[in-house]
Every structure is written in C-alpha cells, then in structure tokens.
C-alpha cells in the first residue's frame, strides 16, 4: 500500500472548493430523492426498498404459515389458498428475503451509507454507477412484484429453482411467472455486481489520508470481502440464469436429459453461488455486530487481525462446501466425504469469530442499549444456527434430515439473525447519524423482545417437527396421516401464532422509526461516543460531501478505554 499521508494538504484545499461549489444549487425533489448520486441517498433508497420488500416477504410467510397450521381455513387478509398459490408464496418468500431484503439492506444500504463515511471521503468513486445500480435493483424488484399479477401468478418452483420443476411450465404451472423470476434475479445480480465493484474500489483507493489497512473498521472490511465473494461466486449462476431462462422460454436443452443436458448441473451452478452467498450476507451482519459490541462494551475489539484473517479463510473455504446441499442428489459418496470435511471445517473460523466477540465482551463496561441487545441476540441465535448446521454438513446425518423442517429451522436460525437481528442492530445504531435524532429506547426494547422471543417460538417447534420427519414443500399435511397427528398440529399452531406475534411487533418498530424522525431527541454528532469517522461529520445527518474538510486518520477504530486518557474513546481523526 502506498502511504497516502502526503496527499493530505492539497486535498483539503480541494474539499473547500468543492463544498462551496455545491452551496449554490438547490436540487429539486426528483434530483434529490430519485435521481441522486449521493451515497447516503442511494443507501436510503436501498434501505426503504428493502424494508418494503421485507413487508411483502413477511406477509407471504404469514399466509403460508396460516395455511399449514389451519388447513382449509379462510385466512384473514388473504382468503382461501390452493396448492399452486402456496408454492408461489414459499418460493417468493425465500427469494425476496434473501435477494430483496438481506442483500439490499445489509450490503447495499449499509455499504453505501457506511463505506464513504467510515473511510473518510465524500462519496463513492463511481457515483453514477452507484445510481445505476439502484435503478437496476429497483427494476428487478418491480419485475418480481409484477410476476405475481401475470396469468397463473408468480413462480412456483421453489427458491432454489431446481430443474425440471423450474424449467418446464407443465410442472411448475407458472409459464410467465418462472421466466420473470429468473429475469428479476439476474437483474438483481447485475445491480449488486455494479455496486460491489464500486464498494471494493472505493475502499481500496479512497481512504482518508493515514488510514492504513488495519485501521479500517471491521464492518467496512466485511462488506468489501462480501462484495468480492459475491463477484467471485455469482458468475456461474448468471450463466445458469441465462441457461434456465432459455430452457423455460425457447426450450433449449441445458437441463433436459432428453436433449443431452443435465438437471444436476443447475444444482452445481446454484450452490456454487448459494453457499458463498450465505457468507455474503453473514459477513456484513457480523461486521455490524463487531462495531456495536465494541462501542457498547467500551473495549478494543479482541484480536482485530484474527477476525480479518478468519474472514479470509471463511471466504476461501466457502467456495468448497457447496455440494453439501446435494448429498442426496446422486453425487459420488466419495465426493460427499470431501464436502463433509470442508463443511465441518468452515465452522471453525466462524466459531472463532464468535469467541472473539465473547472475548471482547468479557470485562467490558457493557451498556444494554437497543442496538447492543440486537447484537447479543445475534450471537446467541447464530450459535444455534451454526451448531445445527453440523448435523446437516455430515453426509450421514443429512440423508435423514435432508428436505425436512430441521433444515428449514437451521437456516432460519442463521438468516433471521443475519437479515433481521443484525439489520435492526445496524439501523438502531446508525439511525442517529442517518436522521439526526435518537430512536425511543423503550419502544426499541419492546420491539426487541417482541421480535426475539417469538422468533425462537417459531423455529424451535420447527426443529422438533423436522426431527419428527415433517417434509418441506408440502402445502397441506392433511393428506399425510403420519404428519397430521394432533401433537404435530399443536407445534404448527405454536409456530404460526409466534409468527403472527412477531409480525405484529414490527409495527412498534415502524411507529418508532417514523415517530422518532419528528419527535426523537436530537442526537448530536456522536451520541454513542464512538471512534469511527462517520461520527465526526460537521453536521448530523451529514450534508453533501460529508465533511467541510475531509478527515485524516490517526489510529485504528477500536481504541476504547485506553489507559491514561480522560475519555474512554479516542476518535480516529483526533491527532495524538
């Protein structure tokens, strides 16, 4: 790395000129909110689109859970459900929550908001590509939502889209929904490739003078590494999406054995992306948690470099575990052994990260603010998600567990911490910087417990149902006497009622979010007394260009409770 400090002085001069030039024009509504190239506004666009999609995904979960628990019932706010509708709902629930909620909020929204602010510069290196990225993303969301309204409704071939179910409309029954789904997913990938290139290049080249590699906050590292993992893994699935779309629309033979194709090829392409994708969304989440935990335990992050090197190891290993999704797809058992070993190995770096976080908490002055509660709940839940993964990674056990609700509960114990708990952790933590006001703590805690307790209430019964042999992707268990026993229905009722409670508590968050925009206590620049550069902006929320004089970095991001200092924090931009 070249030493950037020498550029410091001329650049500060530039920053002044730049700022004044921008004082003169007042952008109109469209320019400001819809056509902006400002990274903060694009972050908001991603965040609000992601949250709107989360409401749709949550609504879908409510509909099909009601149908599972109370088959044949007229579902309030939905009506009667048939098998095709059920299939479309579960397919799109999975797709939306991963590709239109976790990805845009965790990577795109937090990445856009935090990277320039945390590395001390005024914007992304390619602001117009950034805008284009969001516009393509928005288009993809519109295509996906539109697919529910075409003839025969949205795609009903499961979110993993295995052919021949996904490739032939006589099986999935959604001749228009299926290609629209594939096109939406492909557009979304392009949006995130553009965004990812921007993130990586910005973090590599535009750091504040003095900010060395190990002075970068962990969350920025994580978003950058996640973007690289995404870039390195999504290519084959983009090719696969083109192939699947051709199979669906013009009846090519990529996945059709009659024409010399191979349906298992899709599984390889999908999971070669699909498993790194888990880490693509996990890493930003775990980065957010790292920053929040250090701030609220007033301690230096235990083993910064270990976290980083562990992340590199995880990223690398994540490319060699994909076939653990295919143990019963006819893969060679010898290959299954190899993938069992790599899968069990990958739990080592992740476990190490969790230990590092616990070590950071140990002996710290912990304050249980709302963001901290979310961070701690992330650790707790992710441990359960990780430990249950071992059962599935071992090919012997997986033969039994495959395609049961045990799998479903396992990945929800990883994805809910990622896409829900860590997102709330990040939103409640950075809200004061984003909007200049504090969120209400009492409402925040009510929302936390109202989400966290029912979350466990949903998925612990599903673990039990999975162990009892309940299969996934069955729209009504009435036809399976073994699975329609009253005690199984009790568990289903419990899970479904828990879900309804959890969804209802989200209104507390929505209320708190909008109420605090107007009535929240003014936050000031640095309400949490944190070190990282985003808390040092001249205005809160930061204006265009973020700082009048772009900051210089003097130290790492986690210098809390340094002996001999009066204050227990030490902002990165404060000269020694």
């Amino acid at each position: 790395m070249a030493e950037p400090a020498q550029h410091a002085h001329p650049e500060h001069g530039d920053a002044h000129g730049h700022d004044h030039a921008h004082d003169h024009h007042d952008p109109g509504f469209v320019q400001k909110y819809l056509w902006s190239t400002d990274h903060k506004m694009i972050a908001m666009q991603y965040m609000f689109t992601g949250m709107a999609m989360a409401l749709i995904g949550g609504y879908f979960a409510y509909c099909f859970r009601m149908n599972l628990a109370y088959p044949g019932m007229t579902i309030p706010f939905y009506g009667q459900m048939n098998a095709s509708e059920y299939n479309a709902l579960v397919t799109n629930h999975g797709t939306i929550m991963i590709f239109w909620v976790a990805m845009p909020v965790l990577i795109a929204a937090f990445g856009n908001y935090l990277i320039p602010l945390m590395i001390g510069c005024d914007d992304m290196v390619f602001p117009r590509i950034n805008r284009l990225s969001y516009q393509i993303f928005l288009l993809s969301a519109i295509v996906l939502v539109a697919s529910f309204f075409v003839e025969n409704g949205g795609f009903a071939g499961a979110w993993t889209a295995y052919p021949p179910l996904s490739a032939k409309s006589q099986y999935n029954n959604t001749p228009l929904g299926a290609p629209m789904w594939v096109i939406a997913v492909a557009l979304e990938f392009i949006a995130f490739l553009l965004g990812g290139i921007n993130f990586v290049t910005t973090a590599m080249n535009s750091r504040a003078p003095g900010m060395k590699m190990f002075d970068i906050p962990i969350v920025v590292w994580m978003i950058v590494i996640a973007s690289i993992l995404f870039m390195a893994s999504v290519g084959p699935l983009i090719a696969g999406a083109v192939m699947l779309c051709f199979d669906q629309t013009i009846h090519t033979g990529f996945f059709d054995p009659d024409k010399g194709g191979d349906p298992v090829l899709w599984q390889h392409l999908f999971w070669f992306f699909g498993h790194p994708e888990v880490y693509v969304v996990l890493l930003p989440a775990i980065g957010i948690v790292a920053d929040v935990i250090t701030v609220f335990s007033r301690k230096k992050l235990f083993a910064y470099k270990t976290v980083l090197f562990t992340t590199f190891a995880t990223g690398l290993l994540s490319f060699f575990v994909w076939a653990h999704h295919q143990f019963i797809s006819g893969v060679d058992p010898r290959m299954a052994n190899v993938f069992t070993v790599t899968t069990v190995l990958i739990s080592v770096p992740i476990a190490e990260m969790i230990f590092v976080y616990i070590a950071t908490l140990y002996g710290g002055s912990i304050t249980l603010t709302t963001p901290m509660l979310w961070a701690l709940s992330f650790l707790f839940s992710f441990i359960i998600g990780g430990v249950t993964g071992i059962f599935l990674g071992a090919s012997g056990a997986d033969v039994y567990f495959h395609d049961t609700y045990f799998v479903l509960a396992h990945f929800h114990y990883t994805f809910v911490p990622i896409a829900i708990l860590a997102v709330f952790c990040g939103v409640t933590y950075w809200y004061p910087k984003m909007f200049g006001r504090m969120m209400n703590e009492t409402l925040g805690k009510i929302h936390f417990w109202g989400t966290f307790i029912p979350f466990n209430g949903i998925f612990i019964p599903l673990f039990m149902l999975g162990l009892a042999g309940q299969h996934r992707r069955i729209w009504s268990y009435e036809n399976f006497p073994e699975l329609a026993r009253p005690e199984m229905y009790e568990l289903r009722h419990f899970a479904t009622v828990s879900l309804v409670i959890m969804l209802l508590f989200q209104f507390v968050f929505i209320f708190n979010f909008f109420w605090s925009l107007v009535k929240g206590k003014p936050a000031g620049g640095n309400p949490w007394q944190a070190n990282t550069l985003e808390w040092t902006t001249d205005e809160t929320p930061p204006g265009h260009g973020n700082w009048k004089d772009l900051p210089t970095c003097y130290r790492g991001p986690y210098e809390y409770s340094v002996p001999g200092r009066e204050q227990d924090y030490w902002p990165q931009n404060q000269p020694s």
């Binding site: 990812g196 290139i197 080249n205 870039m231 084959p236 990529f254 059709d256 010399g260």
Partner: protein, 189 residues
C-alpha cells in the same frame, strides 16, 4: 463536479483501472461457469464431437484473426493515448470498432448458414451451449464497440485519455474469451 473520492489513489493504482480489473474478474467467473459447464458436458457426451463437426471451422478461424487484429488496433490506440495524441487514438479506436463490426457481420452470416441447415439452439445441448456461449460473447463484443463509440469523441479532443487503456483492457479480455471459445466449440471434435 467529481467527488474527491474519485481523485484519491491509496493503492497507487488509478481508480478506473482498478474497477476495470474487477469487472474483468467478475466476467471471468461468468464465462468460467458457462465454459466449465460445457466442458463437463463435453466429457460426459462423446457425441458432442459429432455435432461440433458441423461447425464452420474456417469461419471461426477467420473471426479469430479479425478479433486479434482489432486488438492490435486497440494497443496502437493505447500507445497514442499514452503520448497524449488523442486524434490518432481516436482513429485506432474506430479501427478496433471496425474489427468488432466485421466479427459480428461474419458471425451473423455463419449463424444464418447454420440455422438454415437446421442446427438451431433447441436442437440439443451442444447447440444450446454453442449459441449461448458465442451469443454471450458477441454481446460483449457489441458492448465494447458501443463503449468505444461513446468515448471516442472525448478522446479525439484529448479528454479522458485514460479511457483508451481501460476499454483496451476490456477488449483484450473479450478477445481472450474467444480464444477459449474457438477451440472448445469448433476444433475439439
């Protein structure tokens, strides 16, 4: 007004070049996935060799020559841009553009011939791969040509000359993809 962010270079590598390398890296994975899928099929299906015998190797060879020549022009454009000679770089850029155009025209003729002989994308998995891989590549050729046309005016007036190198890098990448496609789809019989 450009943000300060675009003018910084903590790595010492210009931002544009860095980004183009990331673009190329992600493109390598896209074509890599497609070609790896093809190669796995090719190994499992010896009859692909018989289908490949129906491709027009001499047309493919001509196109290889055309594309490589257009890359030479891209290199000359870069050389001129390095010297700050925008107008010459402009001419060579359009030379590369012309090479790409020839490639696309020859490809259209080739496909028309094959389709008229009944070898269409739905015939079997080999032809599905053939049209998809070559088609995706041709889209990249057309994309590169469009970018050259868009940037050429600035280049002519000696503005943003670094773009000549960047589009050149991309063009060489498109070239190299073809160098993989040609033997895999045409020669391996």
């Amino acid at each position: 007004m450009k943000p300060i962010a675009t003018t910084r270079s903590a790595t010492g590598i210009p931002t544009g070049r860095l980004a183009v390398w990331w673009v190329i890296a992600s493109e390598i994975v896209i074509f890599g996935g497609l070609l790896a899928s093809y190669v796995m099929h090719r190994i499992g299906h010896p009859e692909f060799g018989d289908y490949a015998a129906n491709t027009a190797t001499w047309i493919g060879a001509t196109n290889t020559f055309v594309l490589l020549t257009s890359s030479l022009s891209a290199v000359l454009a870069h050389q001129a841009a390095e010297k700050g000679d925008g107008p010459t770089a402009f001419k060579y850029l359009w030379g590369t553009f012309f090479g790409g155009l020839c490639f696309v025209v020859i490809k259209s003729y080739e496909w028309t011939m094959e389709i008229s002989h009944g070898f269409v994308i739905t015939t079997n998995a080999f032809w599905s791969f053939y049209y998809t891989a070559a088609g995706l590549h041709a889209c990249h050729v057309i994309g590169g040509m469009a970018i050259m046309a868009i940037i050429s005016n600035d280049v002519k007036n000696n503005r943003e000359l670094q773009r000549v190198e960047l589009i050149g890098n991309y063009w060489h990448f498109v070239d190299i993809v073809w160098i993989f496609l040609f033997p895999l789809l045409y020669i391996a019989k």
